[in-house]
Amino acid sequence: MANLADFKYTMESCNHCGQCKWILPARMKGWDFASVCPLHEFHGFDAYSGQGLIQIAKERLDGKLEYGDGLETLLYACPACGACDINCKSVRDMEVLDTIYALREDCVEAGYLPEPLRRTAANVEETHNIYGKPHSERFAWLPPDFRDDPEADTALFVGCSAYRYPDIALAAIRILRAGGVKFKLLREDEWCCGAPLWRTGQREAAEKLIRRNVDTFRRHGIQTVITACAECFGSFRGGYPRYADTEGLEFKHITQVAAELLSGGKLRLRKGDEPLRVTYHDPCMLGRLSEKYVPWDGEIRPYGLHVPEKVWRRGEHGVYEEPREILRALEGVELCEMTRNLEEALCCGAAARDVDPEFAAWTAAERRREAKAAGAQAIVSCCPFCRDALGSDGENALPYLDLTVLLAERLKEEA
């Protein structure tokens, strides 16, 4: 929960160094692929950047700026990918992304949430999924012979994307089964994770849904929640603690679980049919934005001293290595890295598609261009929304492979 006044320190600390727009020097490779903020790169004006948005937030806080003339479109065109935030925090103690979230809450309060996002929110409210499909069909893809482990304290949270990409959910089930992980599904009790609400500043609706979800986990005796969706994962870890007490709950991405199973020798893999050179795209919500959020309510004293000491989310502890470990374990698969990788990965642009489709399409094409420049024959990731964006037709089209599906396909048939 945030309001603009909470981020006054950030707004007044910015010296316009540009770190929020450019790749960190440790990863610099050349002229191309040096921008980390797709919004700024596409639109050009500084208002379309972390620096610009925190300045806009300051003017809103000071009552100097109004919505209604396109500001709301700018604000929601930003995919909130967090590249600005972690780049800034590589050198500063500022909360750029949280300021953007607070600005979104301000926009919602002012009544300017863009129409496509209202529709999504209404879908979540009415059908518990982002697509507005019947809740009863949430698990329609599930094989009739699937059986939960009734005593399990682990749940596989399939997410709304299972409506669209049931192959991912099925692949996750196959991996868990192959590795001997005992788990269950929440079935009709599984609702949207809430990402489309909290990430867009819809505080009240988000809080209601998130608390409900946490209660559901507890009601089912769940201690560990596994998901194959980066957006759900990032929300559980980076969003939920803002609205609910998640103490005692552990959230894992399927790639973490799979990597653990692989290193423990619990998954047996077969060789692929053809050698394949792939690159891995780090989803924002699995990578830099997946660190646990630790609420902080303290005082900032002179010269930046935070009392009590604050736990910062600087993007260092995202899930970066496990997906790569899996790829390295797939015989015949060669991993090549893009320039903007790990915490510096360029966003796929999916979050902007409803508000600024031209920009979203450009961002996806830009990311595919980078993958091609790295020499990849296919781009691998593990987020259904990245799949929407990067797997779509359009400029620089390139085969997209979901990592969970890819791994499941390589599992040796169980005896």
């Binding site: 316009h16 002229w31 010269y303």
Partner: protein, 506 residues
């Protein structure tokens, strides 16, 4: 004065509707107040994103026609690059971002204003070349650094200041003419800044650039040095704990602490005479601790537990040799000189930080962490002369700074100045960096007092501790003491900008 509809239409016709805006929220992105500037900037009436020199020239002509002031803008790190009066448009040059040429044989690169250090530096390094990327950080514009800022760099001891490396340029004059300097004016390419005869280069950059007051530089060639170090850099870890290594037997970093600036001076001169080492720099101790810290809280822990004393006057030395034998030869001289001048090597755990952060010696990575204490921050003096003179300037700071540090008006770090020699000790640059608590509204008064006092003390001693800047109030104050240069600057400005529309600060 708001932009007239007619003027807006004419400007939009030049760049296209997509690349001009007068919407308030777009203007807000550059209507910014930074922690070190105690006032709100004026709002620009519009921001334009031209895509070529010709578009810039056409915009400037429209500005002259309607009496609209213009300010060229790229990264926004210079406080002068903002609207300073009503009736101003910002000409944001970021779309002009091509590296037009990297000429390996003739050792120069030609860039447009939007090319950033983090883009050009790796490109030239791949080719075994390098340049003195000024201390602005990775997102700084290469062109603005070479043409507009003081452009000093940590590694300029074995090379020089950016002035030396600015070759031919193309510029749009305040009236919208396109002019070229040096060999480009002579029709002979980019390699030479001077001539034919006297040099138009003279109005491009003196000690500082003109910050758009004499025109908008649209292309510039910068000279490239041989890169002493590996072309491939090894990076480990994830931000903010990247470690960047030079995997090479030819590279070594040493840091020594001194207790006396005159001894540092002697060391700098002795090393310079021997023409050894690549970087020799007396660094600031406060930013150094900040560079090594994970957060402001972490800084406070380190600062109060020995870092301040252990690195009170650090001399940072980087040896980048062409052979192991040369490295050993340079090390031998370095250790002799340090022994003779009373330097003490830092403990290994502190010195190792440098070896793991070689990006410091390339694009001045992580520089912005000096702002971690909240951003109340100001570099002053910024002058250059001989190493001896500049060390004398540094030594005198202790005679007047304590009444500000001990009363809490500014941060308690009285030795927080850096001295960077150039051209193997022929000259040196000084920067006194002080910080203050910007959350305290009264602090700005102390800041102004300290700035004024520093200047007053230097003038009283007849120290050349600072230069006069572009055509701004500082120039009017100091000009009469600096060969009446304000008069000549004004005459040049009037001659080239008769309508006074090019970033007028007076």
């Amino acid at each position: 004065m708001a932009l007239s509809a007619q003027a807006y239409r004419e400007l939009a016709a030049i760049v296209g509707e997509r690349y001009i805006s007068s919407k308030q929220h777009i203007l807000a992105g550059n209507r910014v107040r930074t922690p070190e500037i105690p006032f709100d900037y004026h709002s620009a009436d519009a921001i334009l994103l031209p895509g070529s020199t010709e578009e810039v020239a056409a915009i400037v002509k429209v500005c002259n026609k309607y009496g609209i002031c213009f300010v060229p803008f790229i990264s926004g790190t210079l406080p002068d690059a903002y609207a300073n009066r009503a009736g101003t448009v910002l000409i944001h040059l970021k779309r002009m971002n091509r590296i037009l040429e990297i000429n390996e044989e003739d050792r120069y690169a030609v860039v447009e204003p939007g090319v950033r250090h983090v883009q050009l530096y790796p490109e030239v390094r791949k080719r075994g070349l390098s340049y003195t990327a000024a201390s602005v950080g990775p997102g700084g514009s290469v062109l603005a650094n070479f043409t507009s800022t003081s452009g000093d760099h940590h590694t300029q001891y074995g090379s020089s200041r950016s002035n030396r490396y600015l070759l031919a340029v193309e510029m749009v004059t305040p009236e919208g003419e396109i002019i070229r300097t040096g060999s480009l004016q002579g029709g002979c390419g980019w390699f030479c800044p001077d001539g034919p005869g006297p040099s138009l280069r003279s109005i491009i950059k003196g000690y500082f650039g003109s910050h758009g007051q004499l025109g908008i530089i649209t292309k510039a060639a910068v000279a490239l040095d041989a890169c002493k170090g590996p072309a491939e850099i090894r990076t480990e870890g994830v931000s903010p704990h990247h470690r960047v290594y030079f995997d090479s037997d030819l590279s070594r970093v040493y840091v020594f602490n001194y207790d006396n600036i005159q001894n540092v001076c002697q060391a700098m001169l002795a090393l310079g005479e021997a023409e050894v080492c690549s970087t020799v720099q007396k660094y600031f101790y406060l930013p150094l601790t900040l560079l090594m810290s994970d957060s402001a809280n972490d800084f406070w822990k380190k600062w109060t537990s020995g870092y301040k004393e252990a690195m009170s006057m650090p001399l940072v030395v980087h040896i980048a040799a062409q052979s192991v034998r040369e490295r050993e030869y340079e090390e031998k001289i370095l250790f002799d000189v340090v022994r003779e001048t009373g330097g003490k090597r830092l403990p290994e755990e502190l010195e190792n930080w440098w070896t793991e952060h070689m990006d410091y010696f390339m694009v001045v990575s992580r520089l912005q962490s000096v702002l971690r204490l909240g951003g109340g921050w100001m570099p002053i003096k910024l002058g250059a002369d001989s190493v001896q003179h500049i060390c004398d300037v540094g030594e005198s700071i202790g005679e007047y700074i304590y009444e500000f540090t001990e009363t809490g008006k500014i941060f308690d770090a009285p030795e927080n100045y850096q001295i960077i020699p150039m051209e193997y000790g022929h000259f040196a640059h000084i920067e006194l960096l002080f910080m203050w608590d910007r959350t305290n509204p009264a602090a700005m008064k102390g800041v102004a007092e300290f700035r004024a006092r520093s200047r007053e003390e230097d003038l009283r001693r007849h120290f050349h501790a600072e230069d006069v800047g572009c055509l701004n109030p500082t120039l009017l104050q100091l000009g009469p003491l600096y060969s009446n240069c304000h008069i000549w600057m004004q005459k040049i400005k009037e001659s080239f900008d008769p309508n006074n529309v090019a970033n007028p600060m007076l």
